[in-house]
C-alpha cells in the first residue's frame, strides 16, 4: 500500500490562525521532497505532534490542559482544528482533529470518497493499517525527529527491534497467542478450575474411588438380598416343621391355629396404630401440652399487640407524600427524608402477609387427644402380642413335655431367623432408599443412590478437567509453534536489515568505518562504544531507510531538523541519502540547516520549497518557492 501526505491545514492553533500547507503539484501528485522552513517558535514541533496525534489516535487520551495548550495566545477562540489530507493508494482521506478549548476535549472526524455522508465522527484508518497505526511508537518511526534517531542506538532501548516487529506486524503473532490464552481460559472456566496434569490425576482418582464404592455397595445389596431369600426360606421351612409337629396333636393344632389368626389380626392393628402415631408426631402440640399452651399464648400476645394490623411501611410512605403530618406539623424535605428512612424499619406488605398467616394458623388450630388414645391402644396391642407369644410358647412347651424337644429348638431358631430378617431388611432399606427424611445419616459411603450421584458428579468433573487439560496442552504446543515462527522470522529480518543498512552506512559515512554488528533490541555497532551525533543520524537514517524500503507498505517520511546536530560532511551525506530512501520526504528545517543540508537539494529535481514565517505575536503565513526560501534568514 502506498501512503502519501497531500497536505495539512491549521485553524486557530497557536500562531497559525488559518494556514494551509499543500504538498502536491498541479496534477495532484506529491513532490518527492518538500522542504518547509519553519523558524523556531512557528510550530515545527507542534506540527509533528499533531500529525502523530492524527495518525496514532492518541489525542483521545489528552488531558484538558494538553488540548488548551494549542489555543492561540491572548485569544478567545473556542475551537481549533488541524486537518490532515492523506492518500492511501488511490483513496484520499481527510482527518480533522478538533480541539475544543472550552471543554478541553479533543475529537476526530474522517471523510473519504469511500465513505458516504460527509464526515464521520471518528478516526477511521484503512483496515490493513489499523494494527500498525494504532501503535504510537510506530508512527514516530516515519514522523521522525532527532530523539527517535538516538533511540535506535541507545543500549537501553528496544526501539530498533520493535520497529521491525511493528512494521512487519510480527506483533500480530503475539496477539494470536493471546487469543489462544483466552480460549484456554474459557475452557478452564467451563471446567472445574485450572487444568494441570496433577489436577487431572486427582479428578481421575476421585472418579475411580466413587465407582469402586458404588460397585461395592451394589454388591453388598445383592448379597444381602440373596441372604435374605435364604434366611426367609429357612425360616419358612422351620415354621412348617414346627407347625407339622404341633399338628400331630389335634387339640394343640386347633389352639395354635386360633392363636395364629389372633396374631395376624394383632399385627395388622399394630401397623395401623403406629402409622397413626407417626402422623401425630408431625403435630407436636398434640404430643406436649406445654408446647400447645405456649403457642396459644403467642397467638394471644399477637392479638393484644394488634400485630400486624395494617401495612406500616406503606403508611409511612403515603405520609411522606403529604404536606402535613397527622399532628398538624408541616412536612418539608428534611422531614420527608427522615420518614422514608424510618419507614424501612417497619414491616412491608409482603412481610405482613406471612405474619398474618402465622397468626391465623395459631388461632385456628385445635389440640386433639388422638395421640393419647393411639398410644394407649398401642400399649394394649403390644401386651396382646406378648400374650399370643406366650400362648404359642406354652404350646411348644407342652409338646416338649410330651417328649418332642425339637419343637423348642425350632421355635428358637424361627425367632432368631425372624430377627435376622428384620435386621437385613432394615439394612437393605438403608442401602437402597431414596427417602432421606425417614432414613437419616445416609451418605455416598452407605447408600446406593447417593453413591451413584457422587460417582456421576466425579465422572463429569473428571471429563471436564481432562478435556480442558487436553485442550490446554494442545494450545500450549500451538503457542510454542507460533513463538518459534515469530522468533525465526524476526531473526531473518534482523539479518537482512543489518546487511542492507551497512551498505547504506558505507555511502553516508565517508571518513570512518561504522557498521552495525547486530540488532539486539537496539542497533549494536561493530567495535565501537559510541559514535558522533552526525554518525548516529547516518546510522539511524540508513536503518530507517532499509526498514521501510523492504516493507510492503510505502510510507512517507516526515522529519524535524534532520541534520541539525551534524557537521557539514554528514549534513551533505544525509541530504543526499534522504530523498533516495523514501518516495515522499517532508523535511521541517530552520534557516540554520540550509548550510550543508538544504542547499544540497537545490540541484535536485522534484523538490518543493515553502517558508512559513511570522513576526512574534503575529499569525504565521506561508510563502512558496525556492527564492524566498533561499534568502530567508531567521533572526538570531
Amino acid at each position: 500500500m502506498r501512503i502519501r501526505i497531500l497536505g495539512w491545514q491549521y485553524e486557530n492553533i497557536r500562531r497559525m490562525k488559518e494556514l494551509s500547507v499543500d504538498l502536491t503539484k498541479e496534477k495532484g501528485e506529491v513532490y518527492r521532497s518538500s522542504l518547509i522552513m519553519m523558524p523556531n517558535g512557528t510550530g515545527k514541533t507542534t506540527t509533528l505532534y499533531l500529525i502523530r496525534a492524527i495518525l496514532s489516535g492518541s489525542a483521545k487520551d489528552w488531558r484538558e490542559a494538553d488540548v488548551r495548550s494549542y489555543c492561540p495566545p491572548f485569544s478567545d477562540v473556542s475551537e481549533g482544528k488541524f486537518i490532515l489530507k492523506i492518500e492511501f493508494d488511490e483513496d484520499v482521506y481527510y482527518y480533522v482533529l478538533h480541539l475544543d478549548y472550552e471543554t478541553g476535549k479533543a475529537w476526530y472526524e474522517t471523510s473519504s470518497a469511500m465513505m458516504e455522508g460527509g464526515y464521520e465522527e471518528k478516526r477511521r484508518i484503512p483496515i490493513p493499517l489499523r494494527g500498525i497505526f494504532d501503535n504510537k511508537e510506530f508512527i514516530n518511526r516515519f514522523v521522525f525527529d532527532g530523539e527517535q534517531a538516538r533511540k535506535t542506538l541507545n543500549s537501553g532501548s528496544r526501539e530498533a527491534e520493535n520497529a521491525i516487529l511493528y512494521l512487519y506486524q510480527l506483533d500480530k503473532l503475539d496477539r494470536l497467542s493471546d487469543v489462544m490464552d483466552h480460549l484456554i481460559h474459557t475452557y478452564q472456566e467451563q471446567s472445574t478450575g485450572r487444568a494441570t496434569a496433577r489436577s487431572v490425576k486427582v479428578f481421575q482418582g476421585k472418579a475411580e474411588k466413587r465407582e469402586q464404592i458404588y460397585n461395592a455397595l451394589l454388591q453388598d445389596g445383592e448379597e444381602l438380598e440373596y441372604r435374605l431369600v435364604q434366611i426367609k426360606d429357612k425360616k419358612r421351612r422351620y415354621e412348617n416343621k414346627y407347625h407339622e409337629i404341633l399338628a400331630q396333636d389335634s387339640h394343640l393344632k386347633t389352639e395354635q391355629e386360633e392363636l395364629m389368626k389372633e396374631n395376624a389380626v394383632n399385627q395388622d392393628d399394630i401397623t395401623r396404630t403406629i402409622n397413626g402415631l407417626m402422623n401425630c408426631i408431625k403435630k407436636p402440640y398434640n404430643l406436649q401440652l406445654d408446647y400447645h399452651t405456649r403457642l396459644k399464648t403467642l397467638a394471644e400476645n399477637m392479638q393484644v399487640l394488634k400485630l400486624p394490623k395494617n401495612t406500616a411501611q406503606e403508611f409511612f410512605k403515603e405520609l411522606a407524600e403529604s404536606n402535613e403530618c397527622l399532628c398538624g406539623h408541616c412536612i418539608g424535605e428534611r422531614e420527608r427524608k427522615i420518614i422514608l428512612d424510618k419507614a424501612k424499619e417497619y414491616l412491608g406488605e409482603d412481610s405482613l402477609v406471612v405474619v398474618n398467616s402465622i397468626k391465623r394458623a395459631l388461632n385456628e388450630y385445635e389440640r386433639e387427644d388422638t395421640c393419647d388414645k393411639l398410644e394407649k391402644h398401642l400399649k394394649e396391642l403390644l401386651e396382646e402380642e406378648t400374650q399370643i407369644e406366650h400362648g404359642l410358647n406354652r404350646l411348644a412347651l407342652q409338646m416338649a413335655e410330651e417328649g418332642n424337644q425339637e419343637v423348642l429348638q425350632l421355635r428358637d431358631e424361627v425367632k432368631r431367623l425372624g430377627q435376622q430378617i428384620i435386621d437385613g431388611e432394615r439394612k437393605l432399606e438403608r442401602l437402597s432408599t431414596n427417602d432421606y427424611i425417614t432414613n437419616t445419616g445416609l451418605n455416598p459411603e452407605n447408600n446406593i443412590p447417593k453413591a451413584k450421584t457422587a460417582w456421576d458428579e466425579a465422572k463429569v468433573n473428571y471429563q471436564k478437567v481432562s478435556g480442558a487439560y487436553d485442550f490446554t496442552r494442545k494450545a500450549e504446543r500451538m503457542k510454542e509453534y507460533i513463538r518459534r515462527v515469530k522468533n525465526n522470522a524476526l531473526k531473518r529480518l534482523k539479518t537482512y536489515m543489518v546487511q542492507e543498512t551497512n551498505k547504506k552506512i558505507e555511502q553516508l559515512v565517508e571518513n570512518d568505518i561504522v557498521s552495525i554488528k547486530k540488532i539486539d533490541g537496539h542497533l549494536v555497532l561493530e567495535g565501537k562504544d559510541g559514535v558522533s551525533e552526525g554518525q548516529t543520524l547516518a546510522v539511524a537514517y540508513a536503518f530507517i531507510g532499509t526498514l521501510f524500503e523492504h516493507s510492503q507498505y510505502e510510507f512517507p517520511f516526515i522529519v524535524d531538523s534532520p541534520a541539525a546536530p551534524a557537521d557539514l560532511s554528514v549534513r551533505r551525506a544525509v541530504a543526499q541519502i534522504l530523498p533516495q530512501l523514501f518516495e515522499q520526504t517532508v523535511i521541517l528545517v530552520t534557516s540554520g540547516e540550509k548550510k550543508g543540508f538544504a542547499e544540497e537539494f537545490y540541484s535536485l529535481e522534484d523538490v518543493q520549497y515553502l517558508t512559513l514565517k511570522g513576526e512574534k505575536d503575529q499569525p504565521v503565513e506561508s510563502i512558496p518557492g525556492r527564492p524566498y526560501f533561499e534568502q530567508y534568514q531567521e533572526k538570531e
Binding site: 512487519y168 487431572v200 494450545a475 504446543r477 509453534y481 515462527v485 525465526n488 531473518r492 523492504h550 510492503q552
Partner: protein, 61 residues
C-alpha cells in the same frame, strides 16, 4: 496481501520440523496467513488446536 518472505520461510521451516499431521500443517500455515491479513476467528483457531494429537505420556509430569 500475503506474507513477507522471511515470515513465509519461518512458517515453512517450522511446519517441516513439527511432528504433526499434514492436515494440521496446512491449516496452521493458512491460519498465519489469514491472521496476518486481519482474519481468523476464535472458532477456527480452536478447530486447528483440536487437530493436534497428544502423545500417551501427557499425564505423567
Amino acid at each position: 496481501m500475503g506474507l513477507n518472505w522471511e515470515l513465509q520461510d519461518a512458517v515453512r521451516e517450522e511446519t517441516d520440523s513439527m511432528q504433526e499431521t499434514e492436515g494440521f500443517k496446512l491449516r496452521f500455515t493458512k491460519l498465519i496467513e489469514n491472521y496476518m491479513d486481519g482474519m481468523g476467528s476464535e472458532a477456527e483457531i480452536a478447530d486447528i488446536i483440536d487437530l493436534i494429537e497428544l502423545t500417551g505420556d501427557e499425564y505423567e509430569d
